[in-house]
């Protein structure tokens, strides 16, 4: 894939992996739009990276997606790359009742539904422009991190959906890429242990991804993602147990007298969900 001269939209692009890719794509000579749910982060992006277009949008809200699509069609009709990167990651204890059944599905809304809806809302721009869709899933699509069961499930869902999307859009000339990062050092992973699984920096992820995209790869497994992939095929029980062992201490304990789970034992910095 040739990497300059495009107009690229990155959801969840005001921090972490999304922002790292945004900056790299600008450097390579592309028009880049980032969206995010947190206005403070977007304002920061506008000040620090004035070349980026920053638009407020929440991928877990269908109305917000519709409004974004209308604005994009008006302002950036040449849009030809959509990177569905917005993601939410929460450690959960499935043995306790959730205090909030709606919040329980938060990662589904952002990670799965956000990706599906954004793709649908912009396909009538991407397809005529013979563009590219990049869905960010995760190594955990193959083997779940048991302490983040819904996040992991959402990534498995994205893997299946992206595979179908690739076949469906082949005749339309739209390239569909799946990016499967390992553990990456960002706000979202802050506070996670660095023991069994090495964290890579966003720079390393971006560099490896750019190289893979230039080589025309459609499923991009970076670093330890490859190992997780192979282990999931060769010895799934072993690798499943390994991740269970490595993450069970991170599962939230009961916090109050009702025994209900307080959903996040992750770091105080909230994830960028859109």
């Amino acid at each position: 894939m040739e990497l300059s001269g495009h107009t690229i939209l990155i959801t969840g692009g005001s921090a972490g992996i999304g922002l790292a890719f945004a900056r790299k794509f600008v450097e390579l000579g592309n028009e880049v739009i980032v969206t995010g749910r947190r206005r403070s982060k977007l304002d920061e992006v506008k000040q620090l990276h004035p070349r980026l277009h920053a638009i407020h949008s929440d991928v877990s809200d269908p109305a917000s997606i519709a409004a974004l699509a209308a604005e994009i069609k008006r302002r950036f009709p040449k849009l030809d790359v959509l990177m569905n990167n917005a993601g939410s990651f929460i450690m959960r204890n499935l043995g306790l009742p959730s205090g909030d059944l709606v919040e329980l599905a938060a990662e589904i809304e952002t990670n799965i539904n956000g990706t599906i809806r954004m793709t649908s809302a912009l396909i009538d721009l991407i397809a005529p422009n013979k563009g590219t869709i990049i869905n960010v899933s995760s190594a955990l699509a193959y083997v779940p991190l048991t302490s983040a069961p819904i996040y992991s499930a959402s990534k498995a869902a994205i893997h299946s959906y992206t595979t179908s999307l690739r076949f469906q859009l082949r005749d339309a000339g739209v390239r569909v890429v799946e990016l499967m990062p390992p553990l990456v050092k960002t706000d979202m992973s802050a506070g996670m242990w660095d023991g069994d699984f090495k964290m890579i920096s966003t720079d390393v992820l971006v560099a490896a991804t750019i190289k893979a995209l230039k080589n025309g790869a459609l499923e991009i497994r970076v670093g330890q993602s490859s190992q997780l992939y192979w282990m999931s095929r060769i010895a799934p029980d072993i690798i499943n147990s390994q991740l269970w062992k490595g993450s069970r201490s991170l599962i939230p304990k009961p916090q109050n007298s009702t025994g209900a789970e307080t959903p996040s034992v992750r770091p105080p910095v909230s994830t960028d969900r859109a």
């Binding site: 304002d43 506008k46 000040q47 004035p50 070349r51 277009h53 209308a70 069609k73 008006r74 302002r75």
Partner: protein, 259 residues
């Protein structure tokens, strides 16, 4: 809602400022009539905001502006706000020293900005007089008030716009019509300013980011005005709460320009 049921006509609604104003005015309850020379972006904008109609109108064409205003009156019976966000491309206008600048390119912005503002404003004023109320608004910019290199005829064009504002105001305010300008610092959220910064950066032999940093460093806040901030000020200035302000340009320069 600060602009509930106000009828607002926006010229240049296809541009970044026009669109930002449209969004803000619609949020505050205004009924919008969006115009511009290119239909596509304005049609698209009507899908994003409630209560907006689009029309292709060239602000330099007096008959076209007048016909359109009449159609608005026919539909709503009034015009409360006329917002001039007309702009022209800067490619040949900026980035060249005055000693080298093509004479036609020098005059072009002066003639275009003065004429489009004059025509749209006075035609709106005729309708607003009937109701003894209304607000005429325009965009101006920092080069109106201070010497900046390589802006070509844009500096005098903006000065003209600000003086037209004062003269319109002194004639129209007795009829209940206020006339005000909004003067932001350069807003790189707009493609116009992105291009302008590129022209200036190249002329200075520095990068776009370096030029942006240079301009931003002159503000008190260390950053430039955003479209949303300009739109928020526009809402206030269009509302009845700004009744004390007329014949003036609102300083949105983040402190980089003294009053």
């Amino acid at each position: 809602m600060m602009l509930k049921d106000k009828v607002a006509v926006i010229y240049g609604a296809g541009g970044a400022i026009g669109a930002a104003i449209a969004h803000a005015f619609a949020r505050e309850g205004a009924r919008l009539f969006l115009t511009g020379r290119h239909r596509a972006p304005i049609d698209a904008l009507t899908k994003e905001v409630t209560s907006a109609e689009a029309a292709e109108v060239d602000a330099l064409d007096e008959q076209a502006v007048d016909r359109h205003l009449q159609s608005v009156i026919d539909k709503t019976g009034r015009i409360d706000i006329s917002f001039n966000a007309v702009g022209i491309p800067n490619t040949k206008i900026q980035g060249v020293p005055l000693v080298d600048l093509d004479a036609e390119q020098f005059i072009l912005p002066i003639a275009t900005y003065a004429r489009s503002y004059f025509l749209t404003a006075r035609l709106a004023a005729r309708r607003m007089s009937a109701n003894k109320s209304g607000v005429i608004m325009t965009v101006t910019s920092v080069p109106a008030r201070t010497g900046i290199p390589l802006v070509g005829g844009l500096g005098p064009a903006m000065s003209a716009v600000e003086q037209i504002t004062r003269n319109l105001s002194v004639e129209l305010a007795p009829k209940g019509i206020r006339v005000v300008g909004l003067r932001p610092q350069g807003m790189p959220e707009s493609s116009t300013i992105r291009e302008v910064f590129e022209l200036h950066a190249r002329a200075h032999g520095i990068s776009w980011d370096q030029f942006h940093g240079m301009i931003a460093s002159r503000t008190h806040t260390g950053r430039l005005t955003t479209l949303e901030e300009m739109a928020n000020a526009a809402v206030f200035m269009a509302s009845d709460k700004a009744s004390a302000m007329t014949g003036t340009a609102v300083n949105l320069s983040m402190g980089s320009l003294d009053d």
